[in-house]
Amino acid sequence: MASNEEILAGLAEIVNEETGLAPEAVELDKSFTDDLDIDSISMMTIVVNAEEKFDVKIPDEEVKNLKTVGDAVSFIAGAQA
């Protein structure tokens, strides 16, 4: 079980690895597409890496609902519970 802060830090690391964005740019209110400029292929890579890192399942149909970093953190926290 990871705290929300730990999930955010882990996600920021994954986003950095995929896109080169500075981890501190990955904030809860940021939109993956509009603010972080992450395309659908990168998003799928981030999702799959997050599944492995946090040992959760993120169904494909759920990905479109993960608009912001906060949405992803909440979903992962919920899935871990």
């Binding site: 995929e18 896109t19 080169g20 292929i41 799928m44 890579t45 799959v48 599944e51 492995e52």
Partner: protein
């Protein structure tokens, strides 16, 4: 009168240099880029060949980490070489709708394909990267170069095994002559130093097995040659309509005067022993360049160092050039950098252009006892000065499948001293 096409930019990343100046310096010196492989997979799979000629500067040291992650190694090499060529051309402004790409590969994204297969088997479909398809497709290098330069007049991918890189110049010339583009980034890239291609080429007895001496394993024309040495990298050339180059005051290396592509229709891998397809390609390239055999002073030969391959090329040169073949000096640069497969024609075209521009032919190494059946005037020991006046040099490339590609480079000015 067809549009004249000139060469205004050169780029390369090879086993004997990560850029053109380094490669050229080493090509004149005569060094080997072949070394014993230290990868754990050599022992793991008990490969019969323990060496290859890896790129001297890994592309991942040149590209950013994020950039490299989305590219197969073959595409990484293509982008590195084309960026160097583009910078070298000095083009700052261009109509991007008139800029095309012709970037070849022999095999395509073999690392990506096989890594994804391993991932699928070990971890399941969910872990296969979403970028797998665009990374493994053979048009990946051409597409990446097109994207990088904003080239919108088409991005083409000739795939003709080891003739691919030279065929890219053929396509580039046609694109400019026919008026479909004013500038073409032409080249070839390959990254196949992977256990599977090594095992496959070894299985067909195409690779040298001189494991105790990698540096002397690639020995074109030598009586003891026993196969080629696998290399990797990319070469890139900026082809430009002459009037476009003159209008912007470009530095012109030489003219891409003529090209030709033929097919043997003889055997899937063995060259026609009489070299008929290669002869037709040589004659057609000269005709395309409106040149005579006597105009040719230098040939960068395909010469891979296989027992069966080197001789038919001589037969073809003799048939196409006649007695003048004795006056032509030949460089077999695969002796230094190994065989870059789909990139070889592009890299060797870069060397051919430099030979014409600087009027000096690079060195062939490892030739100790020349095969008496191949009495060519091979440049060994030290580089050979080429004559003054208008000169022409040829680059030959032949590929499995019976593909033959030849380009003819003509000088456009007096000798240019090396910096």
């Amino acid at each position: 009168m067809a549009r004249k096409v000139v060469i205004t930019g050169l780029g390369a990343t090879t086993p004997i240099g990560g850029d053109v100046p380094t490669m050229w310096k080493n090509a004149l010196k005569g060094v080997s880029g072949a070394h014993t492989l230290t990868d754990d997979w050599v022992e793991k799979y008990n490969l019969p060949v323990h060496f290859a000629a890896k790129a001297s500067t890994p592309a991942t040291e040149v590209l950013s980490r994020v950039e490299a992650k989305r590219m197969d190694p073959s595409t990484q090499f293509a982008v590195v070489a084309s960026r160097e060529a583009w910078k070298d051309s000095g083009i700052t402004e261009i109509d991007h709708d008139r800029l095309a790409v012709a970037f070849a590969t022999g095999i395509g994204g073999v690392w990506t394909l096989l890594d994804a297969w391993d991932t699928l088997r070990e971890k399941g479909p969910r872990r296969v990267l979403p970028m797998t398809v665009p990374m493994l497709m053979p048009n990946g290098p051409a597409a990446a170069v097109s994207l990088d330069l904003g080239a919108r007049a088409g991005a083409h991918t000739p795939v003709s095994a080891c003739a691919s890189g030279t065929e890219a110049l053929h396509i580039g010339l046609e694109l400019i002559r026919s008026g479909k583009a004013d500038v073409v980034m032409a080249g070839g890239a390959e990254a196949a130093i992977h256990p599977m291609p090594l095992a496959s080429f070894a299985a067909m007895q195409a690779l040298s097995k001189r494991n105790d001496s990698p540096e002397t394993a690639s020995r074109p024309y030598d009586i003891s040659r026993d196969g080629f040495v696998m290399g990797e990298g990319a070469g890139a050339l900026v082809l430009e309509a002459e009037e476009h180059a003159i209008a912007r005051g470009a530095r012109i290396y030489g003219e891409l005067a003529g090209t030709a592509v033929t097919a043997d229709a003889y055997h899937i891998t063995a060259p026609d022993p009489q070299g008929l397809g290669a002869t037709r390609a040589l004659k057609a390239a000269l005709y395309d360049a409106r040149a005579l055999p006597e105009d040719v002073v230098h040939v960068n030969a395909h010469a891979t160092s296989t027992p069966v391959g080197d001789k038919p090329e001589y037969t073809a040169l003799k048939a196409a050039l006649g007695d003048h073949v004795d006056n032509v000096c030949v460089s077999a640069t695969k002796s230094q950098m190994g065989h870059l497969l789909g990139a070889s024609g592009a890299v060797e075209s870069v060397l051919t252009v430099l030979a014409v521009y600087h009027r000096v032919a690079p060195v062939t190494i490892n030739l100790e006892n020349q095969d008496p059946e191949i009495p060519l005037d091979v440049v060994t020991g030290s580089p050979r000065a080429l004559p003054e006046g208008e000169i022409m040099a040829l680059n030959n490339s032949f590929g499995f499948g019976g593909h033959n590609a030849v380009v003819a480079i003509r000088s456009t000015g007096p000798k240019v001293e090396m910096a």
